[in-house]
């Protein structure tokens, strides 16, 4: 993992002090709410439906046991004993008091954490592959790039007031586990000559009201050119992105309206004016950072299977579903589901977070990851410890064996918390997960995803799911629209609206009819989106609406 040096530490502490001063000025009335709002947002502090909400950054989803323990402590001391892990690999606290937030940030700074740029119209916390560094299909660890971006973008003086938020994701493996093409800029890292990284830059992806798949901006960009290029890409966006309508302010709209070629030539023109001096240390920085991510402390493990103790059916199922092969023989990558049957997707109690911190220490070299599907990963678990780990997880209610199944639902907080939401997401997820867990015990529901958003802003990634559910407000009643055929992987696609919406009560039966039709129609080895593409919307529509 990346470990802060004295400069990083001083920087984060200084930012915490700066925010303390801003809060003090706000409480004293020196700053109006209009003036304070962009400042608090830039440091992750929202005013939600019921209370303030603090979003803490977990850069590229990697954290240590000590950091997880601190997150648990904050939940216990300053919140109501729980936190919510988000699709951007962050954690949200739903009930902090403004007066307590400076102390929370000081606590975070003690373990090299912060809330910098987790909101606001600036470059947001960079996300990445939760299996970075341990996946068998990885070409190159994306996290040194992500950390380089974190440093470049943190408190960047020019990009604090962009037209709209700006999201980066970085991956370095064959499989896309970070929804790269749904980001404003996605970087795919591959090794070039001498194993130096080469970058594909994808631009203009996003969800929200106008979902777009990113397009390739440039291929084979060398490390030395990366940051000057990104700096120019952001500058052109800052100058030309629309500011008259917040729904048209993301870079995806600039690319669509201005044209990729025009955008590209403006970037080139700006690059010609760039002073490269501030970027000169970037290559050395990258290699300094990369050293921290190389784990040299992974003890070799026997690959021969130990004497086979009889496994409980629960353990066998959990290993099959939640454990992925590791690039180092004798280890497994363990995904821990935060989607218990009937539970709240992404929520963990303080007690569970303490347990996760302890288990990571015992079984995973003190390292954890957060996934964009709102689950936790223990990246370094010896195969011989899986049974023991499983038993511990059972005790803490963390052993649901559904990672990658349909009941592994992404859901935003929705109208239960969010000031922007038009309908609730969580109760829909709870009902569906209960029903889907029952179906999953009888039939194979892998290879398709179900995501729920409580408004058109699409924080629950409904566009990017095989089955997407979007909660709307129709005449002051919650109503849910279904989209089909979306995907966030390398063949990213945007789901299509199936037809008229449903009431909350009607949703489970509608989902059942979709699944019944899919199961009856699918050919061997076909996944949901393939069936959907082959048969088309009308066939599904008939199955869902006519059969009703």
């Amino acid at each position: 993992m990346y470990v802060y040096d004295k400069h990083d530490q001083t920087f984060v502490e200084a930012r915490s002090q700066e925010f303390r001063d801003q809060v003090k000025r706000r409480l004293a009335g020196e700053l109006s709410e209009d003036e304070f709002k962009p400042m608090r947002l830039m440091n992750g502090l929202y005013l939600q439906l019921h209370a303030y909400m603090l979003r803490v950054a977990i850069p590229y989803g990697t954290l240590s046991s000590d950091q997880m323990r601190k997150l648990a402590y904050l939940a216990e001391k300053y919140d109501r004993g729980y936190g919510h892990f988000t699709t951007r690999q962050n954690i949200q606290y739903n009930w902090p008091k403004l007066v307590d937030v400076p102390d929370m940030l000081d606590e975070l700074a003690k373990v090299q954490m912060h809330a910098i740029q987790t909101s606001g119209n600036c470059i947001r916390n960079v996300t990445s592959d939760p299996f970075a560094g341990v996946a068998g299909d990885e070409w190159i660890d994306p996290r040194p790039t992500a950390e380089l971006l974190r440093q470049w973008s943190s408190l960047h003086p020019e990009f604090a007031y962009l037209p709209r938020k700006f999201k980066f994701a970085v991956t370095g493996a064959a499989e896309d586990r970070a929804a790269l093409k749904f980001h404003d800029i996605g970087l795919k890292v591959k090794p070039g000559a001498d194993s130096e990284p080469l970058f594909e830059i994808w631009v203009g992806g996003g969800q929200g009201r106008t979902p777009r798949i990113a397009v390739l901006f440039e291929d084979k960009v060398e490390l030395v050119d990366l940051l000057p290029k990104l700096d120019s890409m952001l500058r052109v966006y800052n100058l030309h992105g629309r500011r008259d309508n917040k729904y048209k302010a993301r870079i995806k709209i600039l690319i669509a309206e201005y044209g990729l070629e025009n955008y590209r030539s403006d970037v080139e023109e700006d690059l010609a004016l760039q002073s490269l001096e501030p970027f000169a240390p970037a290559v050395a920085e990258y290699h300094r950072i990369a050293k921290d991510f190389e784990r040299t402390d992974v003890p070799p493990r026997s690959v021969s299977s130990p004497k086979q103790e009889p496994q409980s059916p629960g353990l066998t199922a959990w290993i099959k579903q939640n454990v992925t092969s590791h690039k180092i023989a004798g280890y497994g990558v363990v995904s821990i589901s935060l989607k218990p049957k009937g539970g709240i997707p992404g929520d963990a109690t303080a007690e569970q977070m303490y347990a996760l911190a302890d288990l990571a220490e015992r079984f995973s070299l003190s390292e954890l990851r957060i996934t964009h599907r709102q689950n936790i990963v223990l990246p370094y678990v010896p195969a011989s410890d899986l049974a023991e780990l499983y038993e511990e997880l059972v005790v803490h209610g963390l052993a649901e064996d559904n990672v990658g199944l349909l009941s592994d639902i992404i859901a935003c907080p929705g109208l239960d918390y969010c000031a922007l939401a038009t309908a609730r997401s969580i109760p829909v997820a709870q009902t569906l997960s209960t029903r889907l867990r029952e179906r999953e015990s009888r039939e194979d529901l892998s290879g398709l995803t179900l995501n729920i958003s409580g408004c058109i802003n699409a924080c629950g990634h409904h566009h990017a799911a095989s089955i997407g559910i979007l909660g709307l407000n129709r005449a002051e009643t919650e109503n849910y629209q279904i989209t089909l055929g979306g995907s966030s992987n390398d063949n990213a696609s945007v789901g299509e609206i199936l037809g008229p919406g449903f009431s909350q009560e009607e949703i489970p039966a509608a989902v059942d009819r979709i699944l019944d039709f899919y199961q009856a129609s699918k050919q061997p080895d076909e996944n949901f989106n393939q069936v959907y593409q082959r048969l088309g919307k009308s066939a599904f529509k008939e199955a869902v609406y006519v059969a009703a």
Binding site: R26, L27, A28, G29, S32, E33, L47, L49, H50, A51, Y52, R80, G81, Y82, N94, W95, P96, K97, L98, V99, S312, P313, G314, P340, G343, I344, D347, T349, E351, Q352, E391, V394, V395, H396, G397, L398, A399, E400, L415, D416, Y417, A421, T422, A423, R424, I426, P427, Q430, N473, E476, T477, E478
Partner: protein
């Protein structure tokens, strides 16, 4: 933008407390209360007066984001008309923060 409202529509003035973030309602006694049951009921033709009270309280840094929201009387209680406001007053509809019950280890 002012919506056209029925002349018999009633309102309450609500906001969030600046330092705690708690939801508050104008009680009509120069103070903000935590419960909607203590809210002062505002008639349609009194909206301007209470919009001024809202601005003054915001300027005095007591509350954030004050606004009038339409309510109706249900039995003897006040209930917001809008979905969002009903949820805001009722709080989250889910049992949050409760630990998920451990499953039994399958035999």
């Amino acid at each position: 933008m002012a919506k056209k409202v029925k002349t018999d529509q009633i309102f309450v003035l609500t906001a969030n407390d600046l330092s705690s973030g708690d939801i508050v309602f104008w009680s009509g006694e120069s103070r903000w209360a935590q419960e909607i049951t203590s809210a002062h009921v505002i008639a349609a033709n009194e909206q301007d007066t209470f919009t001024e009270i809202a601005s003054a309280s915001e300027s005095a840094n007591e509350v954030v984001g004050a606004y009038l929201t339409p309510v109706e009387r249900k039995n003897s209680d006040l209930q917001p008309v809008e979905l969002r406001e009903r949820r805001r007053v009722a709080g989250p509809s889910i049992a949050y923060g409760s630990p998920v019950l451990p499953q039994k280890i399958a035999a």
